[in-house]
Symmetry: C2
Subunit: 203 residues, 2 copies
């Protein structure tokens, strides 16, 4: 073609390499993905790949940084403290699950591959802590229960984030209707956001 | 001592090696734990360790199998369909979190180390699916909502198991009161168990 791969600007080529790497890591994990496989997926030579990313570690790190940033951007774009709490919860859950639905490779790289690696888990942990902090804030604002402490708010947020991740992981496997998953997760989340109930008086 | 290590029966020594391995893997993950370190922790020679477990993979596999079995036994000992649903939920949550609280190394090996490894993740997945199936059953029995499907029951169970795992992981780090965590998780779980609400009518 007229615009052969050699003419591509560096930034474009970098993104193409990262796209190929995310696809490969998502499918086969970190240990079982070779630089050869990524180069083949990106339709470039292996020396070229090494020229841009000096090692598999470095390439994976760049993948995790990019995907983590995209994920946080998608989720936090739905965060708006001026919304009613109910609408806020719906928006967060919807944007979160939509991201996973539309970017299942990205989700798998972060949630399945990076979390299992001692060197990269901290990046995912930071994203998770960011989301947990948002949710903690929402719960604190919505709670009127006497006697609830910051520990309760945070632990409830931890539980809701865990629920969200588990549902998202199922969504990323396909076969689950996105709207239905959103309604279900919202229903559970909303019950949690209604307020922390430490006294178990739900009889 | 009179009963030197050489006199120990094979079964006892195996358990000691597994204890040492669980401690080491829990602290440092799979890749960064050496057979040397495990032998040192178990106070035996490395050749002896290799005599019992031919490779690090085999040893880790034995750890995961033992801890996974212990975990499932602890949780399913609290499963009794003749109990009132409310008591059933409380018992399951309490036994689950107590296990994690009292066996944080075991939990970390399963939840943090094994899930991140392509070769061992399936063992944890099987345990998780077993627990999810129990919870799905509980939800189905407790649901009166019209129009809820098996997919809804299962996805709700997935969410609750995810919430439970996230809270448990926090509990395993210490600094969280076990009773308080149990009450909080039960409160969230109970709201989920009350029945699947797919129509978002919680206004």
């Amino acid at each position: 073609m007229a615009s052969g791969t050699k003419r591509l600007p560096r930034a474009v080529r970098e993104q193409q390499m990262l796209d190929a790497a995310v696809t490969a890591f998502s499918a086969n994990g970190f240990a079982d993905t070779s630089m050869d496989a990524i180069a083949a997926e990106a339709k470039i030579s292996k020396p070229m790949l090494y020229l841009y990313y000096g090692s598999k570690d470095e390439l994976f790190s760049a993948c995790v940084a990019r995907e983590s940033g995209r994920f946080m951007e998608a989720v936090s774009s739905g965060f708006d403290l001026s919304m009613r709490q109910r609408d806020q919860a719906r928006t967060l859950v919807r944007e979160f699950l939509r991201y996973v639905y539309e970017n299942s490779d990205s989700w798998r790289v972060l949630y399945r591959v990076a979390v299992g690696s001692a060197s990269f888990a901290h990046i995912v942990t930071e994203s998770r802590n960011g989301v947990t902090a948002m949710i903690t804030d929402l719960i604190r604002r919505g709670t009127t229960t006497e006697g609830a402490s910051d520990v309760d708010f945070e632990l409830t947020a931890v539980a809701l984030v865990g629920a969200g991740e588990a549902v998202a992981d199922r969504v990323s496997d396909g076969g689950i209707d996105l709207e239905r998953a959103t309604d279900l997760l919202l229903s559970i989340t909303w019950r949690g956001l209604r307020g922390v109930n430490v006294h178990d008086d739900d009889h």
